[in-house]
Amino acid sequence: MDLLNTLFQSAPWGPLRFGLHVVFLLAAAFVLRQMQDLRAVVGLKHLAKPRAGFAAAGLVAVLGFAAVLAYQATWQLSGTARPDLIAFMQLHDRRQFNPAHWIERGRILDVAGTVLAESRVVQTDAGPTAQRHYPFGPDFAHVVGYADPRFGTSGVEAAANIQLNGGKPDSLKDWGELGRQILTQGKRPKGNNVTLTLDAALQRLAVERLGERAGAVVMLRPQDGALRVLASTPSFDPNRIDADLFLHADPRARLLNRATAGLYPPGSTFKVVLAADALDRGFSARIHCPADGWTTSGHYRKIRDHEYYEARRAGRSWRGHGRIGLTTALVESSNVFFAQLGVYLGHEAFRATTERFLFNSRISIGAGDSRRQFLRTGRIPTIPSSDRYGLAQASIGQGKVLATPAQMALIAAAIANDGVAVRPRLVGGEQPVAAGRFMQSGTAAKLRSMLRQAVAEGTGRGIETPGLAIAGKTGTAENPFGAPHSWFIGFAPAERPRLAFAVLVEHGGYGSTAAAPIARDLLLLAKQRGHLP
């Protein structure tokens, strides 16, 4: 016994074991050969002559086995041609020797060819393995995702998994290569690269400017939906994923992609939606806006303008906007005006508008070949027709209205693109697809000039920069968790927009002080990098 134990642990056991394997297979094959040789001797001659029909039955049985074996080969030998299987194994198979883990996945590049993710072959105890490396660390963690043998795949890594793995073999050459791999067992396929529409420099600046604060930045080209920035903080380092990340207890929710899935009250940025609906309906009246606010019934707190609170804090008195039209109301971001406008337009109009703006749904942002990536648009429950105060609140982007930064960027892009929202996309080379018409072309043109005015002389005047012609809408969204969220959505240049954006800083305070400067800095860099004229 001890002899056996020492033999099994000695160095020559490896080759010896291999030899035994060969001996086993040869012996088994030899048995088959002998059966062939002995078939005359072992024929059952003392029995009756074979009855008719049984040979056919035997043939059917043998064909059954052959069919199973042939089908098995499509998994066992040419499994590489089954992208679903490869993806499953990368996600769920813990066998270290599984060739699916050796695949040198293709690189993920940004629009300028900067590497966002690449595979490096490293030697481990279990042999060579491909390890994924992310040069930008946490900056792209949500959008690019991770590919980890233990934790699976996410983001673009998951969505473009098949292409990154090398795609389906579709040419004769690919199949020849597959055959070579089967015979030599040199299963080391190399994947294909995936080029994204993102701009690494812009994304880095966005993450840097958000800094320690939680928030999100989305920037896209309105005409074809090409996403330039899709940033979310706080983030995690995909090079070093730890299990803590996946615990629900993570108080900072680092795994959450705030840009595409974070639901926030949009605050005043939501007023552009109301304004678009009013303009579409040909609304041009003026509404009286009392200085100390307006409410639907005496039971409810009055909805007031921010100037009222500012004046009260400073110990001054404010005489109110008086009778104003839509333009002034939007430029000055009058809560009193839009609350009354929303109630005036009515519940049914509000519901139809949220539907037209694709709220309560999700939009695909990547035609991934194995898994699709989506952005959530927002959540606006139906407001009962008896709840007029709820409608007034919703009309100024408070109350039950929630939206994602990506959705607000898409709304800005629709205004910039004559009312048509083009589906945002991450992967280059795809045909632009319309997500929907949010408003009439004329409405979009009017809104463009109003939003330009809001930056030139209204709530956003703090970031007015010569040569950029920024148009936008600030938002200061009250929320039950602390200081208001700071929003800024818009586009530039106002006349012929090339970039639309949404910036959100959680608990950042006023939209004009936290979010708007980030947008301005990004636009300045975008101009340098040729994204703006």
Partner: protein
């Protein structure tokens, strides 16, 4: 007469079974080499090899040698390939079980005894029922029918549910016994009523329903009760065996046609009624729809196969534990992972040969009852093997049947051994017709008695 009825002297008998001996020894050699590899992998996992580890292979080898010697002593004329084929399959089963740690416990357990006991049962049954002595089994026709239903009712009333199926006490599956009792009943009944059953209506070909009602009632009751148990695999196995026996007994292929139609309709109805079956079909069609739930088992098995590739990682070198119930229903995935496509193809060749041999014995059996019994057993064995292997490779939905000789499972192994023993007995042929004198038969039986006493 091409061949003497039965070899007389011991030397003649020893020579007569030389082919079986030669094949058996080569098989034992191959399995021995395989076992050495499995054993050699133990220290890698930090387990020292002990003397008790040698008990399973020695018991295995001794059992088959004893079976062979028994055949020699009895002057057995039956099939010479069957024992070697069974030895190879059971050997692979032993290696796979050993590798999955079935024999890992300290000391000897029931598991150590099971395979040798099964082989001995097979040989003893073959010798006991040889020379046409299996034919009295036909007389017990109603006994088999009542026993079949009794087994089912016993399991339904006392059994416990586990993983969606019903088991008897202590995870013994008495329903495995149905594979024998149902086949015997059907063989006896069809043998007795073959003429009536073969009389089809004209001009529209339709089977004679009046002649059918006892069998139809039995089959409906049996398959219905099995459906209540949700044992779809067994329903398929027994249903197909019944149809093939009917076809073989009456030479009416129409039974297969109507059977296929009825099975199609019944299968559709069952799928409408049982969500359990629907889920299996759905996860078969697209296992990737729910990869971590319904598709998990089959996908883990396929992942292992893919990892194994053409040549496999080698005995005990892979990690087959990731597929649930690997040592039982999914043992084929383990073999395919460790021995690669080549190894699993080899295994299937042996399975196919065994099936072919069983069908050949059925084709050449002298008595109609022997032919019908052999047909039934061959059908059960073939269908069960194909259902398991097809399910594991995702060629068909998973039915939860075991792989004969390879899967862990005592009831399954013992019943398969008994069934093959019966087929071997049938392959021995019939006694000489009475007009030739009864002497050879008597000497044979006295010799046998002497041999078993020694």
């Amino acid at each position: 007469m091409a061949k003497p009825a039965r070899p007389e002297t011991l030397a003649e008998r020893w020579d007569a079974r030389a082919p079986e001996r030669r094949l058996l020894l080569w098989v034992l050699f191959a399995i021995g080499a395989g076992f050495l590899m499995v054993l050699g992998a133990l220290p890698k996992d930090g387990i020292a090899v002990r003397w008790t580890d040698l008990v399973p292979p020695l018991g295995f080898a001794l059992a088959f040698c004893a079976a062979h010697l028994l055949f020699v002593a009895a002057g057995f004329r039956g099939d010479q390939l069957l024992l070697a084929l069974v030895a190879f399959l059971a050997g692979i089963g032993l290696l796979a079980q050993f590798r999955m740690g079935v024999y890992a416990g300290a000391g000897l357990t029931l598991a150590h005894l099971l395979l040798p006991a099964g082989v001995m049962l097979l040989a003893l049954l073959a010798v006991a029922l040889m020379d046409g002595r299996y034919r009295p089994l036909a007389a017990g026709m109603w006994f088999w029918a009542v026993l079949s239903l009794a087994i089912l009712i016993f399991v339904l009333t006392t059994g416990q549910r586990f993983r969606g199926a019903v088991y008897g006490a202590g995870f013994i599956t008495p329903t495995e016994g149905l594979k024998l009792t149902v086949v015997l009943f059907a063989a006896a009944w069809i043998d007795r009523h073959a003429k009536a059953l073969a009389k089809w209506h004209t001009p529209i070909p339709f089977p004679p329903l009046r002649a059918h009602w006892p069998l139809a009632l039995f089959a409906t009751l049996l398959l219905g009760l099995l459906l209540v148990q949700r044992d779809l695999g067994l329903v398929l196995i027994l249903g197909l065996a019944l149809l093939l026996q009917l076809t073989a007994g009456t030479k009416r292929v129409g039974y297969l046609v109507y059977g296929a139609l009825a099975a199609g309709a019944a299968g559709y109805a069952v799928l409408q009624l049982f969500s359990h079956g629907q889920r299996r079909v759905a996860s078969w069609l697209d296992p990737f729809a729910d990869p971590t739930g319904a598709g998990w088992q089959v996908l883990q098995g396929l992942s292992g196969m893919y990892a194994g590739g053409l040549w496999g990682e080698g005995f005990s070198q892979a990690r087959p534990r990731y597929a649930p119930i690997a040592e039982s229903d999914f043992i084929y995935a383990v073999v395919a992972e460790e021995l690669g496509f080549i190894g699993s193809a080899l295994l299937l060749v042996f399975f196919a040969l065994l099936c072919w041999r069983l069908i050949l014995i059925a084709a050449r059996a002298k008595s109609p009852f022997g032919m019908l019994t052999a047909t039934g057993i061959a059908s059960v064995f073939t269908v069960q093997t194909l259902l398991n292997v097809g399910g594991v490779t995702k060629a068909i939905p998973i039915t939860g049947v075991t792989l004969p000789f390879i899967s862990q499972g005592g009831s399954s192994l013992l019943v398969t051994c008994l069934a093959l023993g019966l087929v071997l007995a049938i392959s021995d042929g019939e006694p000489k017709p009475l007009k030739k004198k009864t002497a050879p038969a008597r000497t044979a039986s006295t010799r046998r008695r002497r041999a078993s006493a020694a």
